[in-house]
């Protein structure tokens, strides 16, 4: 028997008639995220589950409404969430070269009362965690970012951000995989491809992976 652990704050809500959202918590927290990823992996093995998406601290479950009901799935989620998650293996480590010449780096430095060199130092210091992959193909939410680099999003989002832009916002950092609109502060760029349409999965990063940036002049 595996020990049952209490999940005091989990809430399960319907998302229409064939999906539900299980919220494990509301904090940006590595332990919560580890549990969300483990819960999603366990749910995906069920025949009545079509897809399970790990969020920062939640799992969105698409189920087959001909095989399961909200109530039966919610009970399964609670049971699986109470199990001790398997020992989390350290995610794969990606080393990403970045040229820190983004169009916003001077403005970010001015707003934070730091030098651009200090921005680079603070941004390259941690090993970030991939909390979630999603939003657009290949996008990964990385964090947590150093407190000294915390800034709200830009007031006016850009209508087009070039692919490969390295950006920060709040306690998060990320790399734009495709040219898309975006409201984050662009501090650098990388030539590493995050979206790999002809691979399966088509994405370099997976939830739970680790990412280390290093500065280059290229």
């Amino acid at each position: 028997m595996q020990a049952l652990r209490s999940v005091p704050r989990m809430r399960i809500h319907p998302l229409g008639d064939s999906a539900l959202l299980a919220e494990l918590g509301t904090r940006l927290d590595t332990a919560l995220n580890t549990r969300a990823i483990a819960l999603a992996a366990a749910l995906k093995k069920r025949r009545d589950v079509r897809q399970a998406i790990a969020g920062y601290a939640s799992v969105t479950v698409y189920f087959d409404p001909d095989q399961a009901t909200h109530d039966s799935l919610a009970a399964a989620v609670k049971r699986l969430a109470g199990k001790r998650p398997p020992m989390a293996e350290p995610g794969r480590l990606h080393r990403i070269p970045v040229t820190y010449d983004g169009p916003d780096i001077e403005a970010v430095a001015a707003q934070l009362h730091l030098t651009p060199e200090k921005i680079v130092e603070l941004h390259t210091a941690p090993i970030y965690r991939v909390f979630m992959v999603g939003f657009v193909p290949g996008w990964a939410y990385l964090g947590p970012l150093a407190l000294e680099l915390e800034l709200p999003r830009r007031h006016v989002p850009r209508t087009q951000v070039p692919a490969g832009s390295v950006a920060i916002a709040g306690r998060q950092t990320g790399i734009y995989p495709l040219p898309t609109p975006g409201g984050w502060h662009l501090i650098g760029r990388t030539s590493v491809k995050l979206f790999l349409p002809d691979s399966d999965p088509p994405c370099l990063f997976r939830a739970g992976d680790r990412v280390k940036f290093f500065a280059t002049n290229q």
């Binding site: 319907p14 999906a19 409404p65 999603g134 939003f135 193909p137 088509p202």
Partner: protein
């Protein structure tokens, strides 16, 4: 084989989507009106997972190279074969050289064309549906253009017989723009006025409406509380961004987001949402999960006679 003489305004190859790739941030995709897609396939004896053409706001001009069985479902764009009007929601034989054309849009937004054997298309991450962002799937990841040739993917699962039909009473009532919805995870973040408005007020589909989603215009829905951490989204979710003008997520929706989800449209009414046009008024009405389950089963049973045919 069908030759594309004119593609129509925006015609893409679609199927039931690619849910397996959502964890890489790839939009689920697939036909916006799944009922019409499914009916079109069943009418020509196809497996429901085969690809159909989704024609937005106007129809294509297609010429059959060989005799084939086709069907037309969804929106009404006034279909013709060799200049003579033909019925929709039924199987139609085209002889070699026959021309399938469309007149003016009469109702709805999206029309589906199926061909017995299915439309041959690029498979990407388990689906034939077109993903424009990645330029993959369907017709080389792009809408159809004049000069394209559509091959038939294979033999139909059932003998191609014309005359199968979906009676009007079995189709969704596309003219009734009331969308049944289940209260969402963040419904309680709406202020009391917002909770009342969501299920009472009328909202208009703005010009900013495409396969990703529809921005709606109407009385604002105000939310409170701290920012949410991003989570996985679903087709039919009603997101409430800052400013309170809701967004209804459709087939090519972003896979994750952090805006509150006030409600989600039930599966049975997504086909009606798929046929809305900019300027259309809609209303959300609250239903229970149990009611939504009944509605979904009733919608599926409507096509039972075609499955058994």
């Amino acid at each position: 084989m069908l030759h594309v003489k004119e593609p129509g305004l925006f015609t893409t190859v679609q199927d039931l989507g690619r849910p397996n790739a959502i964890n890489s941030g790839v939009q689920p995709g697939g036909a916006m009106d799944r009922f019409a897609h499914l009916a079109a396939n069943l009418l020509v004896g196809n497996d429901p997972a085969l690809a159909t053409l989704e024609c937005t706001f106007s129809g294509p001009h297609l010429v059959a190279e060989h005799a084939c069985l086709v069907s037309i479902t969804g929106a009404d764009f006034d279909p013709h074969v060799n200049g003579a009007p033909v019925p929709a929601w039924t199987g139609i034989f085209l002889a070699a050289g026959d021309r399938l054309t469309f007149g003016a849009r009469r109702s709805g937004a999206r029309l589906y064309v199926a061909v017995a054997g299915g439309v041959q298309a690029d498979r990407w991450l388990g689906s034939l549906s077109t993903n424009l962002l990645a330029a993959r799937g369907g017709m080389h990841g792009r809408p159809l253009k004049a000069g394209d040739v559509l091959s038939v993917a294979g033999e139909p699962r059932k003998p191609a017989v014309s005359g199968r039909r979906v009676a009007e009473r079995l189709r969704p009532d596309y003219a009734d723009h009331t969308l049944c919805a289940i209260a969402g995870p963040h419904f309680k973040r709406l202020d009391p006025e917002g909770r009342r408005r969501l299920f009472e007020a009328s909202y208009r589909v703005s010009r900013d409406a495409d396969r990703m989603g529809y921005r709606l215009e109407g009385p604002p829905l105000l939310t409170s509380g701290e920012e949410l951490l991003s989570f996985g989204l679903v087709l039919g979710a009603v997101q409430v961004p800052h400013g309170g003008q809701p967004i209804l997520l459709m087939a090519d929706h972003q896979t994750a987001g952090g805006y509150p989800v006030a409600a989600a449209v039930v599966t049975a009414d997504l086909p009606i949402a798929a046929q809305l046009l900019p300027g259309d008024e809609l209303r959300f009405t609250e239903v229970t999960v149990e009611r939504a389950d009944q509605m979904r089963r009733a919608r599926a049973h409507a096509l039972d006679s075609l499955r058994d045919a």
